[in-house]
């Protein structure tokens, strides 16, 4: 396709520069962070996107944080495709925080919302195409032939008379070429690398123990600290006597961390090793003031939210007159769903490393939000953002938790106090208790069926604490957090009338983005309630949904495909049943069918069939891996996931109290990826929402009982 000139002029500027005989290619999207243009794209390889070296390697600085989703392979594939680079010469490195790396969809350097491909795909393809054009132009100039007579393939430009030159040989001359104002992008049908299941670029590092995570950072002269934060949300430090910790050989300091407006008070013990710091912390008797929320517990949360259900709330969608339509229905149904708080529990506990001097700060962090961390730390220290360097390591899981900046601040606070580099590494217990949590949520739904068994309307009211009210209050207007209604406010199902309301009840428990966010509860409520309506209508659950998707051919195709692959409707062994769910999130449509058996209260998930339509695919094997991942993550939440609040804090502390699905319980997961040229959808999150309702619907088929709250363990179910 030919990129529209108007768009390319307005939104895109390629810069080329020579360094050490190589070619640096930078680009900037003015709307994505105006400073980008001024970031010296010609001279600093660390803040330039692409580096073609004389040794013929092509290195892409990956702007997104790699937390398992494979973005460190998918983005290089897109670049290599347009650049016509030899894949075996393509390298990647993790970019540090710099506005040039901002994701255009966020205007910030943030990895989240399954938005990396959607944000970076087109600019990266354009810069690849621009680089290819400049390399060809350099060759044409050297050979004194028209550029039209030269072509690029696998990092070699060839021209008339058998002339050949590698990208490495051409790089320096290419750097002197004028970047093209307009580029032609390849048609996806002509792709050779993108769209294929290439192996990930990071697997070797990750199977040999060489991959560097935040916890692996070692800076000369570094101390290691660990912390205890106030057990209750909003708690304050009354007193701590440092002596017992300082008496332990190797303990260097006891640091009270207080007075941060958005962080609970904490105590850090810094030592020559983590174990010493941990022993030092354990030796302390810390006197905490529980603060104003010390009495908060699950019952109080539930009381508040149940009261909220009685309030009218704020209206988000009002199409037709749903209340009247349902009042006049032949049959009316309603249900109230309860969802608990959830912790992310990434495998790598929270940590960051910082060195703060009067001149600036250097930070090494496994963060999803390097740009936000840089800006926030600069404000805190009274520095300019350019004086704060944030190196991004691999992330040992993110799931939304690492989009916060709290764990970066703990290291910065400690490093500022001590004047030497400090790594602050949290225990698993601190990680779990002082997280941000998937909001506990109540959902009320009401619908009715006409005489033919078709739904006449849908009413939905959601009550929870608003994530955006905590982190971006300016985006919450008149009490409406639109993010809290994802999966409800927009639905592919054609209900003749709809009403969606929201009741915001902000509490002391900090809530945050958790893999697929509101879709965790909207997907469960909608897909189990639809199953309930189908049953009331005496209709097959797949057919019932298809009748509501006649205007949505992609959704219908996913549903039909997953039903076919799961042999929906065919007989199963006694004691087995299938459950179905379909959900759209982050621009992708996912259908899942779970085959479940039950003995007593113990169920087993034998097989999950998954079909995903995420539009134009970059690497189908990475899509498969993300669906498998989302399903296991969702199964853990469905069966076990529950964070309890007591005495104003979190009861659970470690995996024995917050269990995980393991290999033994993981079903065979068959994933089919639909192929088309629709706009990209995300893949990191959309696999998660359908699995819990698919399992719950299968359990209904087996027991005749509807599950209207999670986790399943609360209903006596165990997972074999």
């Amino acid at each position: 396709m030919r990129a529209p000139l108007e768009l390319s002029r307005r939104a895109f500027l390629v810069t080329g520069a020579a360094v050490g005989g190589g070619l640096l290619l930078g680009f900037a999207l003015p709307g994505a962070g105006g400073r980008a243009l001024a970031a010296e794209p010609g001279v600093n390889p660390l803040t330039t996107w692409i580096h073609i070296r004389p040794d013929n390697t092509v290195t892409l600085m990956v702007p997104s944080s790699e937390m398992g989703q494979g973005i460190d392979t998918a983005l290089p594939m897109l670049l290599a495709e347009e650049l016509e680079a030899d894949w075996t010469t393509v390298r990647m490195a993790l970019a540090e925080a710099n506005p040039v790396f901002n994701n255009p969809q966020f205007r910030n350097q943030i990895t989240g919302g399954s938005r990396s491909i959607r944000g970076y795909s087109e600019p990266l393809r354009r810069v690849g195409a621009a680089g290819r054009t400049m390399l060809i132009a350099a060759a044409a100039q050297a050979w004194s032939v028209p550029a039209e007579q030269c072509r690029a393939e696998r990092s070699v430009v060839s021209g008339p008379g058998g002339r050949r030159a590698t990208y490495g040989e051409l790089a320096e001359a290419a750097a002197r070429q004028q970047p093209p104002a307009e580029v032609a992008l390849k048609k996806p049908a002509d792709w050779k690398l993108a769209g294929t299941p290439l192996k990930r670029l990071d697997t070797f590092e990750k199977v040999t123990g060489r991959a560097m995570y935040g916890i692996d950072v070692r800076v000369p002269g570094m101390l290691v600290g660990t912390l205890a934060a106030a057990p209750s949300f909003g708690g304050k430090l009354r007193h701590v006597d440092p002596a017992p910790a300082l008496a332990i050989p190797g303990v260097k300091a006891v640091l009270p961390l207080t007075g941060m407006p958005f962080l609970d008070d904490a105590v850090v013990v810094a030592a020559d090793s983590y174990w010493t710091a941990k022993k030092g912390l354990a030796a302390l008797r810390i006197d905490w003031d529980p603060g104003p929320h010390g009495d908060l517990d699950d019952a109080a949360v539930l009381r508040t939210f149940r009261a909220g259900l009685q309030e009218p709330g704020v209206n988000a969608v009002d199409e037709g007159n749903a209340g009247q339509a349902i009042a006049g229905a032949t049959r009316r149904m309603e249900a109230t769903f309860e969802f608990p708080y959830l912790a992310h529990a990434p495998m790598e506990p929270m940590n960051a490393t910082a060195h703060v001097t009067p001149e600036g700060a250097e930070i090494w962090a496994p963060t999803q939000a390097p740009g936000a961390a840089r800006d926030a730390v600069a404000r805190f220290l009274g520095l300019k953002p350019a004086q704060v360097r944030v190196h991004v390591t691999y992330l040992g899981g993110g799931f939304g938790r690492r989009g916060e900046v709290d764990f970066v601040f703990r290291a910065v606070q400690a490093a500022k106090a001590l004047g030497v580099p400090v790594q602050v590494l949290w225990s698993r217990e601190e990680d779990m208790r002082k997280g941000v949590f998937r909001p506990a949520t109540l959902v009320w739904m009401r619908s009715g069926l006409d005489a033919a068994g078709a739904p006449v309307g849908m009413q939905i009211k959601t009550v929870n604490s608003s994530i955006r009210a905590r982190i971006a209050p300016q985006t919450v207007q008149d009490g409406l957090d639109k993010g809290a209604l994802e999966g409800f406010a927009e639905t592919p199902y054609a209900f003749p009338a709809r009403r969606v309301d929201y009741v915001m009840k902000n509490l002391a428990v900090p809530v945050g983005f958790w893999r697929s966010v509101a879709n965790t509860y909207s997907g469960f409520a909608m897909e189990t309630f639809l199953d309930e309506l189908a049953q009331a209508a005496g209709r097959d659950p797949a057919q019932f949904r298809l009748a509501l998707l006649t205007e949505r051919p992609r959704h219908a195709a996913v549903l039909e495909q997953v039903a076919r692959r799961a042999a929906w409707g065919t007989p199963l062994p006694a004691g087995h049943a299938r459950g179905l769910a379909l959900h759209q999130s982050f621009g992708s449509i996912v259908g899942e069918v779970a085959q479940v058996s039950l003995q007593g209260q113990e169920y087993r998930v034998h097989q999950v069939h998954c079909v995903v339509d995420c539009g134009l695919v970059i690497n189908p094997d990475i899509v498969v891996a993300q669906m498998q991942s989302g399903i296991v993550y969702g199964m853990t939440a469905a069966q076990y996931g529950e964070i309890n609040i007591e005495s104003g804090g979190v009861r659970q502390g470690n995996f024995p109290a917050y269990p995980m699905v393991k290999l033994k319980q993981t079903p065979r997961i068959d994933v089919h990826v639909m192929r088309n040229e629709e706009p990209h959808g995300g893949v990191g999150e959309p696999g998660t929402p359908p699995i819990a309702p698919a399992i719950a619907n299968a359990l209904f088929a087996l027991t005749g009982r509807r599950v209207r709250s999670l986790p399943l363990s609360k209903h006596g179910f165990t997972l074999a």
Partner: protein, 149 residues
């Protein structure tokens, strides 16, 4: 206290307290950071190493207990990623975030060493490490692949 340890076929002398978990000796004293910290209570297996070939959760294993046992970490499983389990992991593109994978690979390597052709049930019983990315389908397939090579 000074302890003599044999790690990846090399001798090391470390001066640490007797209750120091082997994990922190490896990571903080010796700089072998391939072995990971996940929970500190032997629940997740991210810290799995071999003691005389047996998979051991090093976060809860005091250095004083090691004695003369030979310790193998992910760095010593092979110098170049050539161990059959690592090769099977590469073939199947198993890791996602990768943080649990050194421990997972050490657990799998001990399994196929002791049980060269494990059944699915044996894999399910013996591989109890936690992976939050949910790579279990690929782990199962990779162990089968490693067991046939």
């Amino acid at each position: 206290m000074a302890y003599s340890l044999t790690i990846n076929e090399r001798s090391h002398t470390v001066d640490v307290g007797p209750d120091t978990p082997l994990l922190w000796v490896l990571r903080d004293t010796l700089g072998l950071t391939g072995t990971k910290f996940g929970c500190g209570v032997a629940a997740c297996g991210a810290c799995t190493v071999h003691l005389d070939g047996v998979a051991t959760r090093s976060c809860s294993y005091p250095v004083a207990k090691v004695g003369s046992a030979h310790i193998t970490t992910i760095e010593g499983l092979s110098p170049d990623g050539s161990h059959p389990v690592q090769q099977a992991w590469l073939e199947g593109d198993v890791p996602q975030c990768g943080y649990c994978q050194p421990g997972m690979i050490m657990a799998a390597a001990a399994l196929v060493q002791a049980t060269p052709h494990p059944t699915d049930d044996e894999i399910a019983e013996r591989i109890t490490n936690i992976c939050r990315c949910g790579t279990f389908n690929r782990i199962r397939a990779a162990i089968r692949r490693a067991a046939t090579t």
